[in-house]
Amino acid sequence: MMEATVDRGIDDVLEQVGEARTDELDETFATLYRERYRDVYRYALLMLRRVEDAEDVSAEAFHRAFAAWQAGHGPEGRALPWLLLITRRLVIDRTRRRRLLSWLPLASLSPAHEPSREAETGRTEFWLWFERFARELSQRQREVLILRYQRDLDDDQIGEILGISASAVRSLVARACAALRRNPEIWQ
C-alpha cells in the first residue's frame, strides 16, 4: 500500500479512501503529510510572513486535517485544496489576532538558529522583494498569485479555497497583472 501511495501520488490513492482499511488510511495520511507539508508551510509563511506562525499553523492544519480524516471527513476530491482550505482558515484566524501588529521576520532568530551569512542575505532579499510585491497588490490578489504558484492548482480549486468562483479568480489575477505591469521591477 505504501509503495503504491508513493508511486501514484497521494491524490490518486485518495480515490480509494472509502475502501481502505484503518491502518492504510493512517499510512496514507502520513504520506499526505510528507508530500504536502511544504505546500502548506509555504502558503502559511507567505501569508503570515513569520516563521513561528507558519510552523504553528502548519502543525495545526495537519492536526485538524487528521482529526477530520479519522472522523471520515477527508477530502472529497484532491487533497491539496482541502488542506489549503483548512490552512487558510487558520491563517485568517492568526491574522485577526495580530491585526494591528507588524512583525519583523528578519534577523529575529536566536543565535542557536542563526543561519549562514549567505542564507541570511538570501532571506533578507526575498522578504524585501516580497514586501514590495505585497505593497502593490491587495491581499486577495496576493493570495491568488501565491496559490497560483502551486502549479497543480487550477482556478476552480483556488476558487474553492478562497470561497469565490473561478471567474472571480481569473479577474483577481488579471487585476494583479495590471498592477504588476505598472511595476515591472517587481517581476522582471
Binding site: D26, Y37, E55, R96, R98, L104, I146
Partner: protein, 401 residues
C-alpha cells in the same frame, strides 16, 4: 517592448520565479514520531502536533498546555494590578483569542473631559472617535460601532468580544505617552546615585517634571512589536517623526548618562538612561511585559492618543448595536442616523520592516553580559557592535520592571 506589452503569462512567470526565492525558507516536514503511530492505532480524535519532530506532537501539546496555564496566571495577576496594562482575559484582538459570536454585544459610554473645563469642540470629538475606531477594530469584534453623542459624549458598541475590565481599559485609555527627563542633580546619572530614588514601574511620575517628548512625536507606523533576540522576549520598537527625531538626537547628545522615564498616562513604564546619541529617532521599550500587555501598549500607541481623558466606560444595555434613543448608563444616546462601522477583517498588517542596523544601541547595567538588553530598559539595536545609546539603570538604584 514597452511595459504595457508584457503579457499576463510573462508577468506570472516572473512572479513565480521571484516566489521561488522562498523555497530555501521552506523546511522539510518534521518527522512523525511514535506518538503519531500510537495515536493513529488508538484511533483517538486528538493526534500528534509537532513542528519539531521530537517524538511526535504529544510533547508540544503538553508544553502548550503549560504555556496556557502560565499565561493564564500572568493574566490573572495583571488584571489584579488594574494598572491599565493588564492582558485581556480571553479577549480577541492583537493578542487574545479570536472574536467569538458567543459573546453578546455590549455598549460603553464615555464622556470627553476638557482639562480646562471648556467646551469640547466637534473636531476633538471627531479625533477621539477616530482613535476609538482603531482600538475597537484591534479587538477583532464580529461587529462594532463608535458614535458621537454631542457635545462631549461618545459611545462604543462591541459584539463578539468579552466585556472585561481590560477591554474597557484599552478602549478608554488616554494613551498619553511622555518621555520625561529625570534631572541628574536629583536622580543622579548612570555612574553616580542621586538624592532621590529612581521611580519604579507603575509609580505616578512627579507632575512637576516636564516631558521632553510625547506620543504626538511618535510615528505610529514605526510602532511595532518584535522579538528581542537578546532576551527571547518581546520588545516594542518605536520611532519618532521629524522634527522630533532630530530633536531626540540633539537632546540625547547633551544628556549622555542621564536617566529619563517613559510614562504612559502618568504612570512610569520604564526608566532607561542614555548611553550615547540616539540616531534616527528610533528606540525600543523592553521589559518584563507579557505578550498581551505589550500588544495592548502597541495598540494604544499605534491608534494614537486621545486629546483628553475619557470618563465613564460603563457597560451599556445589551440587545443591539444601534438603537435610536437607547439610553446608556451615563445618559447618552446613540443618534439613529449614525452609520455602523463594519467589523470586517482588515488586511494583514504584517508589514516587513527592514532590519537595518542602527548606529546607536543599548548598553547594560553592570553585571549584565554585553550584547543583551536586560529588563526594564529602553534600547536601540546596535550596528556592528557599535556604541550603545540607552541603558537601563543599575539594579541597585532602579528596581526592575
Amino acid at each position: 517592448m514597452s511595459e504595457n506589452q508584457h503579457s499576463d503569462d510573462e508577468i506570472l512567470n516572473g512572479v513565480r520565479r521571484r516566489l521561488a526565492g522562498a523555497e530555501p525558507l521552506i523546511p522539510q516536514p518534521p518527522a512523525l514520531g511514535p506518538a503519531f503511530t500510537e495515536a493513529a492505532q488508538a484511533r483517538p480524535r486528538v493526534v500528534v502536533r509537532s513542528r519539531l519532530g521530537l517524538g511526535g506532537f504529544a510533547p508540544l501539546a503538553l508544553i502548550a498546555a503549560l504555556v496556557v496555564v502560565v499565561v493564564g496566571v500572568g493574566i490573572g495577576s495583571q488584571t489584579l494590578q488594574g494598572n491599565g496594562t493588564g492582558a485581556f482575559a480571553g479577549t480577541p484582538g492583537p493578542s487574545g483569542s479570536p472574536a467569538s459570536p458567543n459573546y453578546p454585544g455590549f455598549g460603553l459610554s464615555y464622556q470627553l473631559v476638557h482639562p480646562a473645563g471648556t467646551q469640547v469642540t466637534p473636531a476633538e470629538l471627531d479625533a477621539t472617535k477616530a482613535v476609538l475606531i482603531k482600538r475597537a477594530e484591534s479587538l477583532g469584534p464580529t461587529s462594532y460601532s463608535v458614535n458621537e453623542a454631542p457635545p462631549d459624549g461618545i459611545t462604543v458598541w462591541l459584539e463578539g468580544v468579552p466585556d472585561t475590565a481590560e477591554v474597557r481599559t484599552l478602549i478608554g485609555q488616554t494613551g498619553h505617552l511622555e518621555f520625561v527627563p529625570l534631572p541628574p542633580e536629583t536622580y543622579g546619572t548612570s555612574g553616580s546615585p542621586g538624592q532621590k530614588m529612581l521611580p519604579t514601574t507603575g509609580e505616578t511620575i512627579d507632575p512637576s517634571l516636564p516631558a521632553q517628548f510625547t506620543g504626538a512625536d511618535l510615528d505610529p507606523s514605526l510602532v511595532y512589536m518584535r522579538e528581542d533576540t537578546a532576551t527571547g522576549g518581546l520588545a516594542l520598537e518605536f520611532g519618532f517623526k521629524e522634527p522630533a527625531a532630530s530633536a531626540l538626537e540633539t537632546w540625547s547628545t547633551q544628556h549622555v548618562n542621564d536617566f529619563f522615564a517613559i510614562v504612559l498616562d502618568g504612570k512610569v513604564v520604564s526608566v532607561p538612561y542614555i548611553k550615547s546619541t540616539i540616531i534616527g529617532g528610533k528606540g525600543e521599550i523592553a521589559g518584563d511585559f507579557t505578550t498581551q500587555s505589550l500588544a495592548e501598549l502597541a495598540t494604544v500607541l499605534q491608534s494614537g492618543w486621545l486629546p483628553y481623558p475619557l470618563l465613564g466606560g460603563e457597560t451599556g444595555p445589551i440587545g443591539g448595536p444601534v438603537e435610536s434613543g437607547v439610553p446608556l448608563p451615563s445618559g447618552l444616546a446613540i443618534p439613529s442616523d449614525v452609520p455602523m462601522h463594519s467589523g470586517a477583517p482588515m488586511e494583514s498588517g504584517g508589514a516587513i520592516h527592514s532590519a537595518a542596523p542602527m548606529e546607536s544601541g543599548v548598553a547594560l547595567p553592570s553585571g549584565v553580559p554585553t550584547g543583551t538588553c536586560g529588563p526594564s530598559e529602553m534600547c536601540v539595536p546596535t550596528g556592528s557592535g557599535g556604541p550603545s545609546a540607552i541603558e537601563s539603570p543599575p539594579a541597585a538604584s532602579s528596581p526592575q520592571l
